[in-house]
C-alpha cells in the first residue's frame, strides 16, 4: 500500500524528479496594466474591498503593481514592478509561525495552511516584501460575483493569513492531466493566472530545475535579478531589467 502511494506520487509529479517552481518577470515589458491583478482576484477567490477599506490599507491583492517615479513632473518616468510572494527558499515568514501554518513544500512552494492559521500575523510582519495579506473579516462578494468563485480554491475565513500560492491548484491540475494522458509535463503546461493573462507576455512560469525551461533561461539572462537579495531570502521570482 505504502509503495503504491509512493509510486502514485512519483507519477503525479511527472517523472521521478521534483520540480522547483519559479517565475521570471520582464520589467522592460511590463506596462503596468494590472491585468494580472484582476486575473489573480478571479482565479483565487480574493475578497474585494470597498473604497474606505482600501484607503485604510486593507485591500488584498496577492499580486500588486508597485510604481516608482523617476524625474520631476512633467518629465516623469514611471517604473512598474509586479510584486507577489517571492516563494523564498529561505523564507522569513516560515520559522516565526507558532503553529506551522506556513511551510515550504517539496516543490519549494511556501504554502499557507488556512485551517491551521490562528492569525498572529507574525509572518506578515517578517515578510520583507509585504506580500502577505490578512482576512480582517469573513469574506463577502457583491452580487452576482459570488457566482463566479473558483471551485478549485478554498474560501478563507476571517482571521487567517493568505498570499500568492503560484496558483497551486493549476500546478496540481497540470500534473494530474499529464499523468492521465501518460505524458511528461512540458514547459508552459502550467501557467498561473497572472502569467496567462499578461498581454505583454512579461511573465513566465516554470520549473527551475529544468535548464531548458523558459523561466530558467530568463533567470539566467544578464538582466535578471532578485528583489532585496541582500536579505538572504533567496527568492524564486526573478526580475529582468536593463542595467542603468
Amino acid at each position: 500500500m505504502a509503495t503504491e502511494t509512493a509510486k502514485a506520487n512519483e507519477t503525479t509529479t511527472g517523472e521521478a524528479h521534483t520540480a522547483r517552481w519559479g517565475m521570471a518577470i520582464d520589467l522592460d515589458r511590463c506596462t503596468g496594466c494590472e491585468a494580472c491583478v484582476l486575473a489573480c482576484h478571479a482565479e483565487n477567490n480574493i475578497p474585494l474591498s470597498d473604497e474606505a477599506s482600501s484607503a485604510m490599507g486593507r485591500a488584498n491583492h496577492w499580486i500588486r503593481i508597485d510604481r516608482y517615479y523617476e524625474g520631476e513632473f512633467p518629465n516623469i518616468k514611471v517604473k512598474y514592478r509586479p510584486v507577489l510572494c517571492q516563494q523564498c527558499d529561505d523564507a522569513p515568514c516560515e520559522p516565526v509561525c507558532p503553529v506551522y501554518a506556513t511551510y515550504q513544500n517539496a516543490e519549494g512552494l511556501n504554502v499557507q495552511v488556512y485551517n491551521r492559521c490562528v492569525g498572529t500575523r507574525y509572518c506578515a510582519n517578517n515578510c520583507p516584501y509585504t506580500v502577505r495579506f490578512f482576512n480582517w473579516f469573513d469574506p463577502v462578494w457583491p452580487e452576482p460575483l459570488e457566482l463566479q468563485l473558483n471551485p478549485d480554491v478554498s474560501i478563507r475565513p476571517g482571521g487567517v493569513m493568505e498570499k500568492c500560492t503560484f496558483c497551486i491548484q493549476r500546478i496540481q491540475r497540470g500534473q494530474r492531466d499529464a499523468k492521465h494522458e501518460d505524458r511528461a509535463l512540458a514547459d508552459g503546461d502550467i501557467q498561473p493566472a497572472c502569467v496567462q493573462s499578461c498581454p505583454a507576455e512579461a511573465m513566465v512560469f516554470g520549473d527551475l530545475t529544468d535548464s531548458e525551461s523558459k523561466v530558467s533561461q530568463w533567470a539566467e539572462s544578464g538582466r535578471a535579478g532578485q528583489l532585496l537579495p541582500e536579505l538572504g531570502t533567496r527568492p524564486r521570482v526573478f526580475y529582468l531589467e536593463r542595467a542603468k
Binding site: 490562528v118 492569525g119 500575523r121 517578517n126 482576512n135 480582517w136 532585496l228 536579505l231
Partner: protein, 438 residues
C-alpha cells in the same frame, strides 16, 4: 533597624491592627473607584465581544502595520510586571532592611500585570478561540506547535513566569494569612485558614519557608530576565529594520525594570494615601525607590542612545527609513515626548535632591509610564510602518475597540489591586514582628 523605627516602636498588636485595618473597614471612595473600574472593564469586555463576533477588522490594525496597540500593551504590561521581581527578589537576596513594607505591593503588581499582559497575545489573534493551538499538547491532529517561533518561546516564558510569581507572592503571605485567620471572623477567617496551609509558626515551618522564599527569589530573578528577553526576541528575531537588533534583549529588560519601578511608586503612594499607612510607607522608601528610578532612567537613556546612534551611523537605508520616521518624521512628537518623559523630567525632578519628594516621585512615575508606553509604540508601529519596499509604507491609528480594551486593562489593574488590598494585608505583618523580636 532604624529604618522601621517609627512603626517598630509600636506593639505587635498595634502594628497588626494597623495592617489588618484595610481588610475590615471600607470607605465610600473605595466602592466608587471599584464601580468605575468595573464599568470600564465591562465596556472593554463588550469591545472584545464585538471584535470576536465581527472579526478583528474592527480594530485599527491594517497592512503593513499588522501589530498595533495590542502588542504595544502586551510588552508594556509584561514590563510593568518586573516591578515585583526586581524590588522584591534583589532586595530579599541582598537582605536590604528597608524593603519590608514594599515587597508585597511589588509582588502583587507582578502577578496582576502578567495576568493582564498575558491576555493580549490572545486578544490580538485573528482567531482568538484557537489560542490553545500554541500549547504543546498531544492532540488528535498529531501536530505540535513550531518550536522555532519566538511566539512559542513567549508563551512558554509567560506561563512559567505567571506560575513562579504567584508562588513567589503566596509564600511570604502564608504567615500573615494565619494571623489574619486568627484576628478576623466569618468567611474571611475560613478562607485565610484554608490558604494558610496549617501554618503554626514553628521553627521547622519557618526554616522551610525561608528556604523556599530564598530559592524562589533566585529562580524568579532568572525567569524575569529571561521573560523580557524573550519578549524582545519577538522583535529582534525578525528581519524587520530596527527590530533585528542585538541590543533588544537587555534594552527590554532594562526598560521593563524602569517601568516596573514607576508602577510600584504609584501603587505605594496610593496605598499610603488611601489606606492611611503613612507610618509604614515612609518618605525614605519613596526616596530610595526614586533613586532607583533615576538610575534606571540613566540606564534607559544609555541604551536608547546606543541603539539609535548605531543605526544612524550605520546608515543602512532600510533602517534609516525607520529612524527618520521616528526621530524626524510623523512619529517625532512621540519620540521626543518619550525622551522628555523618560529622561528629562525624572533627571531634573529626582536628580536634584531638594526636588526629590514623594510628590515628584509620583509625577515621575506617571511620566515614565507614559514614556515607556510610547517607547513600545514607537518600536512596534514605527518599524511596521516602514517595510523594506517603500511602495508598501503605511500608517496606523487605533479604533475605538483598541482604545476601549486598552482602557479596560488599566482599569483591570486598579480593580485587581483594589480587591487584593481588601482581601490580603498589603504590607507583610510578620516582617515587623520578627524585627521587633530582634
Amino acid at each position: 533597624m532604624t529604618t522601621l523605627a517609627h512603626a517598630a516602636g509600636r506593639s505587635h498588636e498595634l502594628i497588626r491592627e494597623d495592617l489588618l485595618r484595610p481588610l475590615r473597614s471600607t470607605s465610600p471612595l473605595y466602592w466608587a473607584t471599584l464601580c468605575v473600574c468595573l464599568l470600564v472593564i465591562l465596556w472593554a469586555g463588550f469591545a472584545w465581544y464585538v471584535q470576536l463576533t465581527e472579526g478583528i477588522g474592527v480594530a485599527g490594525i491594517r497592512r503593513p502595520v499588522y501589530w498595533g496597540f495590542y502588542i504595544v500593551n502586551f510588552v508594556f504590561w509584561i514590563g510593568i510586571s518586573h516591578a515585583g521581581t526586581l524590588i522584591s527578589a534583589i532586595l530579599r537576596l541582598t537582605d536590604a532592611g528597608w524593603r519590608k513594607p514594599v515587597t508585597r505591593a511589588a509582588e502583587a503588581i507582578t502577578v496582576f500585570a502578567l495576568m493582564i499582559g498575558g491576555l493580549f497575545p490572545i486578544i490580538h489573534l485573528g482567531r482568538a478561540w484557537l489560542f490553545y493551538w500554541l500549547i504543546p499538547y498531544p492532540n488528535e491532529r498529531l501536530l505540535w506547535p513550531n518550536f522555532r517561533s519566538p511566539l512559542l518561546w513567549d508563551m512558554t516564558a509567560i506561563f512559567g513566569y505567571v506560575t513562579g510569581s504567584v508562588l513567589y507572592l503566596y509564600l511570604p503571605l502564608i504567615p500573615d494569612l494565619a494571623q489574619a485567620a486568627a484576628h478576623t471572623g466569618g468567611w474571611r477567617a475560613k478562607l485565610y485558614r484554608i490558604l494558610s496551609l496549617g501554618w503554626q509558626g514553628s521553627d521547622r515551618q519557618w526554616h522551610a519557608l525561608e528556604l523556599a522564599m530564598k530559592s524562589m527569589a533566585v529562580v524568579i530573578l532568572a525567569v524575569a530576565v529571561s521573560v523580557h528577553s524573550v519578549v524582545a526576541f519577538d522583535f529582534s528575531m525578525a528581519i524587520a529594520p530596527m527590530w533585528h537588533s542585538t541590543i533588544f534583549a537587555p534594552y527590554f529588560v532594562a526598560g521593563a525594570i524602569f517601568s516596573g519601578i514607576a508602577a510600584l511608586i504609584l501603587a505605594m503612594a496610593s496605598i499610603r494615601r488611601f489606606l492611611h499607612l503613612e507610618d509604614y510607607l515612609r518618605p525614605m522608601h519613596f526616596d530610595n525607590l526614586a533613586k532607583l528610578l533615576l538610575l534606571m532612567s540613566i540606564v534607559w537613556l544609555y541604551f536608547t542612545a546606543v541603539e539609535h546612534l548605531t543605526v544612524w551611523y550605520g546608515n543602512e537605508h532600510l533602517e534609516i527609513a525607520v529612524l527618520n520616521h521616528r526621530v524626524a518624521g510623523p512619529h517625532a512628537p512621540y519620540f521626543w515626548g518619550m525622551v522628555v518623559c523618560n529622561f528629562v523630567i525624572p533627571f531634573i525632578l529626582l536628580g536634584i535632591r531638594r526636588l526629590r519628594t514623594i510628590r515628584t516621585a509620583v509625577i515621575c512615575g506617571v511620566t515614565v509610564l507614559i514614556g515607556m508606553w510610547l517607547e513600545r509604540f514607537l518600536i512596534v508601529v514605527g518599524t511596521l510602518s516602514n517595510p523594506p519596499l517603500p511602495a508598501a509604507w503605511g500608517d496606523y491609528a487605533p479604533s475605538w475597540v483598541e482604545l476601549s480594551i486598552t482602557a479596560g486593562t488599566f482599569a483591570g489593574m486598579v480593580f485587581l489591586y483594589l480587591v487584593f488590598v481588601k482581601l490580603f494585608p498589603i504590607i507583610e505583618i510578620w516582617e515587623y514582628e520578627r524585627e521587633a523580636e530582634g
